[in-house]
Symmetry: C2
Subunit: 335 residues, 2 copies
C-alpha cells in the first residue's frame, strides 16, 4: 500500500497540489466546486497529512518537550496532566522525558528536542544542573519555561509555587497556636526550594520577635524513614521543641512516627505541619495539616506561557508564582 500524498489526491481531483494544499489549510480563494471535489478526493484516497514534510517546509513544528526528574512522583503526575491538557488545546504534541536527576540524560533529551525541531520546552531541571546547561539553552533561543524548582537565572520564564509564603503560613499558624519552640525538618542542603521554605520559616519567627535556632533546622532525605532518623535525634536532644514545620509531607510522616515512638501525642504534645498535601496527608491519624500546592495549575500555567512564547510573545521573562494554601487538619491540635 503506497502512501497517499498530495499528488495522488490532486490527480484524482483533477487539480494541482497547490490547490489541494490550499483547501487543506483554508488559505487563498478556492471555488466551492473545486473545494468539494478536493474534499471528496481527500476522503476517497484516505489521505493522511504529512506533518513532517510541512514542518520541514515551514521550518516550524508543533511539538514541545517536557523534562521532569521524576515522573513517578504524584506531584509531577498532576503537573503533567495540567500541561498535557493545555498543549492539547493548541493541537501540540508533548514529548516526555524523565531525567531521574541525571544531568547527562537531561542534556541528551534537550539535544534530541533540538534535533527534532521542537518549538519549545518545559523543564524541571535535575538538581545539580550546571549553569552551562542553561547558557546553552539560551544560545539556541528556543522558548523554555522552567517549573517548580526555583531558578536563579532571571532570563527564563518560571512557574512555581510560593514556597516562602507557604512556610510563612505554616509557621504563623503554629505561632498563633502559642508555640514558641519550633523546629524545621527536611530538604537537602543544596535545594533552592528548601532555602525559600526556610526563608519563610525564619522570617516569620523573626517578625514575632523569636530568633531561629540553627540547631533546630535540619536536613533530611525525601523519605519517611530518613524523617524518622533525623527527627529522632533532634527531638530527643531538644525535648523543649513543641512544634515542627516539615519540608515535605513524607518527612512529616516520619516525624509522626518518631513522636509515637517517644510517647508524645501528635497535635497535643507536639504540633506538625507538612508541605505538598499529598494523599496520605489526609489519611494518617491525626490527619496532617499541610501546605497545598496546585500542581495541575502549575502545569496549565506553564503551558499557557510557553504557548504564548511560541506565538512570539517577547515580553521580558515572567515569574508566575502560584499561591499555596494552608490546609488545616488535625496535626496541630483541635480547638
Amino acid at each position: 500500500m503506497m502512501t497517499v500524498t498530495l499528488v495522488q489526491v490532486a490527480e484524482r481531483a483533477g487539480v494541482s497540489t497547490a490547490t489541494v494544499s490550499m483547501v487543506l489549510r483554508n488559505r487563498g480563494r478556492i471555488s466551492q466546486a473545486t473545494r468539494e471535489r478536493v474534499l471528496r478526493a481527500l476522503d476517497e484516497t484516505g489521505y493522511v497529512y504529512n506533518q513532517t514534510a510541512a514542518n520541514l517546509r515551514n521550518r516550524s513544528s508543533n511539538q514541545v518537550g517536557l523534562l521532569l526528574h521524576d515522573i513517578t512522583n504524584p506531584f509531577y503526575g498532576e503537573m503533567t496532566a495540567g500541561l498535557s491538557h493545555e498543549m492539547e488545546r493548541h493541537d501540540m504534541l508533548l514529548f516526555l522525558a524523565n531525567s531521574e536527576e541525571s544531568e547527562e540524560r537531561q542534556q541528551k533529551f534537550v539535544e534530541s528536542l533540538l534535533r527534532n525541531n521542537a518549538c519549545g520546552m518545559v523543564l524541571c531541571a535535575a538538581r545539580q544542573t550546571p549553569q552551562a546547561f542553561f547558557d546553552g539553552l539560551k544560545r539556541r533561543h528556543i522558548p523554555a519555561v522552567m517549573v517548580v524548582r526555583p531558578l536563579i537565572d532571571p532570563d527564563f520564564d518560571f512557574v512555581g509555587t510560593d514556597n516562602f509564603f507557604g512556610t510563612q503560613m505554616a509557621t504563623s499558624h503554629l505561632l498563633k497556636l502559642g508555640h514558641r519552640n519550633i523546629a524545621f525538618i527536611g530538604g537537602s542542603q543544596n535545594s533552592g526550594t528548601r532555602s525559600q521554605r526556610i526563608g519563610g520559616f525564619t522570617s516569620c519567627l523573626l517578625e514575632h520577635g523569636l530568633s531561629p535556632n540553627p540547631q533546630w533546622i535540619v536536613t533530611s532525605q525525601a523519605s519517611q524513614s530518613d524523617g524518622v532518623r533525623v527527627s529522632e535525634t533532634l527531638l530527643t536532644s531538644f525535648p523543649q521543641i513543641t512544634a515542627v514545620v516539615c519540608y515535605q509531607d513524607i518527612v512529616a510522616l516520619g516525624v509522626m512516627q518518631t513522636l509515637r515512638k517517644l510517647g508524645r501525642e501528635v497535635g497535643r504534645d507536639c504540633a506538625l505541619v507538612g508541605f505538598d498535601d499529598i494523599n496520605e496527608a489526609a489519611l494518617v491519624q491525626p490527619a496532617l495539616t499541610t501546605v497545598s500546592v496546585a500542581a495541575k495549575e502549575i502545569g496549565r500555567k506553564a503551558g499557557e506561557l510557553l504557548y504564548s512564547r511560541i506565538q512570539g510573545n517577547d515580553e521580558p521573562p515572567k515569574r508566575i508564582i502560584l499561591p499555596p494554601a494552608l490546609i488545616i487538619r488535625e496535626s496541630c491540635g483541635f480547638r
Copy 2:
C-alpha cells in the same frame, strides 16, 4: 542567526554534503583526514542535525506515542517511567497524551501521531473505545502495543498483569487468616480488568466453599474520596464484613479512612488488601498489604516489544502477562 545546514558545514570543510552526511552516519568509506576535517567543521559551525529532514527523506521516524487515560494515577506514572526509560535506550522520543477517558481525544491523538509520522504507539485505551477505533489502527498497520486494560481483540500485542491470579492471592491470604465475610470494593461496572479481578475473588471463595455475596461486591471510581463514600455505605450496612479486597490501592486508602471514621482499627477489626502497590501503600499506617503488578516492568516490556515490532519483528501478536506478587504488610493484622 541563519540555521546551519549540511551545506554550510560542507563548504567549510571543503567537501560535499554527501561526505558530511556519511561522516555523520558512519556510512561508506571516508578517509581519516577528511573525517577529521568534517568533524572540525561540524563543531565550529555549531551544526544541529535536522531529524525532521532526515525523517522525511527516509520515510521513517524515531517517535512513538503513549496514550493513557489518567497520567495522574501513580500506577501509570510508574508505567510511564518504565516505558520512557526503555525508549530512551533506543534514542526514541516519547509523545504523551492523556485521554481522560475521552474517545474523542484519544482519536485525535492517534491521528496526530499518524500525521506526525510516529513509528509506533503504546495504548491504554479509554474505557468505551469502539471496535472501529482498533480496526482503524489495524488498517494503518502501525505497530501498536496495548497495555494494562485487557483487550479482546487478538490482533494486538498486549502487556498487562494477571488480574485473576492477583486477586486470587489476595483473597486466599485473607481466607488463610480466617476471614469468611469478605467484600470486594472498587472498579467501574464496564471494566474488563475488574471482571478479571472479581473472577479471581469469587473463584477463590467458591473453592473454599463460600458463596460470594453480590451485595458485598461494589463499584467505585478510581479515587480515594469515592472509596470513602462507597465503603461507608457498605460497611455500615454490613458490619459483619471483616475483610475487604480492594480493586485498587487508592480505593483501599479510602476504605482505611472510612474504617477510622467508624472507629474500627485496620488490621485488627478489619483486614484490607489493595491492588497495584503504589508508593503510598508502603507509606500509610498501617502499611497496606497489596498485590504488586510491577507497573514499571509493564512499561519496560511494552517498550521492548514495541521496539522489536518497529525493527520489523512480525511474529504473531503476543500477550505478555506479568505475574503479580502479594506484598504482605500490616493491613491484615500482624502475626
